[in-house]
């Protein structure tokens, strides 16, 4: 590959996010739309840091009720019982399928929390103009985008349980208030990851000579 470290921005070019066409906009501040696919062109996503912070904070607010409130209400002849995400994990563990319990624990508790902390870390380092570890931070961002979707797992588990277990009056399952908050956490963190512009990680490098290794 070439050793030149010219970015599209320093060459006064804009790359389309969807079709990757490089174009030279008439006005650099308002780049307009891609001549090929019509997608919005942004030199850097407009208000990326503010939007991502807002979504991260909103998701963090929803995280607590998502874990504290029951996601499923099971009604049997004996009465109604609420299950939170963690008690669902415990049920799976006790029934002998600990790999599935671990999977649900990772997908529903650890991934959302890890995503929130990682996004906050990326935002803080970008705002501080950190130069070090840009490659690792970009890798972290790519991983966030890749694994974020798996936290939808518990929402689907609830949906399938609710639609299948409808044997009134023996046993029936209804969604609890927690599932709405949990789904919000997942959607908000996904939107936050999509709204973050990874090119910002590299912008602080432009003032310094870039090492290759």
């Amino acid at each position: 590959m070439t050793a030149a470290t010219v970015t599209a921005r320093s060459a006064r070019l804009v790359s389309c996010r969807s079709c990757r066409l490089l174009s030279r906009p008439a006005s650099f501040e308002r780049a307009g739309f891609c001549p090929r696919c019509g997608d919005r062109l942004d030199v850097r996503r407009h208000g990326s840091i503010q939007n991502t912070w807002a979504l991260v904070v909103a998701a963090a607010v929803c995280y607590l009720p998502a874990n504290a409130l029951p996601v499923l209400n099971t009604t049997t002849l004996a009465g109604t019982e609420g299950d939170t995400i963690l008690s669902g994990v415990a049920i799976l563990y006790r029934s002998g399928s600990w790999p599935l319990a671990l999977l649900v624990l990772i997908a529903s508790v650890m991934i959302p929390l890890g995503k929130l902390m990682s996004l906050a870390y990326l935002l803080v380092t970008v705002q501080r103009g950190s130069v070090q570890g840009a490659r690792d931070r970009t890798r972290l961002y790519r991983m966030l985008v890749l694994i974020g979707r798996w936290s939808m797992l518990d929402v689907f588990v609830c949906a399938v349980s609710v639609s299948l277990v409808q044997l009134q009056p023996l046993m029936s399952v209804t969604p609890g208030p927690g599932v709405f908050f949990f789904a919000s956490v997942v959607v908000l963190t996904m939107l936050a990851a999509e709204g973050f512009d990874p090119r910002l990680i590299w912008d602080s490098q432009e003032k310094q000579p870039i090492r290759h290794g």
Partner: protein, 223 residues
Amino acid sequence: MRDRLLAPALACPDCDLLQRLPVLPPRGRAACARCGCILARQTTSSSDWPLALALAAAILFVIANTLPLMDLSVVGRSTSTTIAGGASEMWLRGDPVTGVLVAFCAVLAPAGYLLCVLALLVAARCSPAPAWAAYLIRWLRRLQAWSMLEVMLLGILVALMKIAQTATVETGLGMLALGTLVILYPAILQKFNVHEIARKIVWTNGATPRAQGPHDRTSDPAQ
């Protein structure tokens, strides 16, 4: 073929570095020199494979969404469900917002995604490719993140394990179709190259783009 040899310049989507792609060997991949983002994959030359797989996926998609995924029976009573059934029950039993989300991620987004892939593959067979194909590339990128069939499959399996303690659960034909779809989706993606198709597309002003240096591929003259 000539377009490939001319090696168009592109900017890395993750770090904005301008670079030229080398000519890739079969099954080769090109990574960004600075951040390591995968910029291009050399797909196999036959263009019939992805279309065949996408058509098979479309048929399986209809099966997976119409036939029951599984049946549940307790003391002589039984119920069954489909993917869309999961979403509609969620709506009816008190959580419409989550119901819509489930419907979008498990039915609408995968369906839209597959339709985009099919239309793009058909468009890629025209030479030059029509301008509307470019709009589909936009939709493809947006729908990809929200199409969660594989997560849905895993969700069904987890729910199955939970319910299997209290009742007898039998998997249906829809489950088999869904399982196959989950394998087919990445297989199609592996064999089909959006950026290859993008380069064949006619621009809004009617001209076919020439794949050359960044300074030749400048913005629309209408601007």
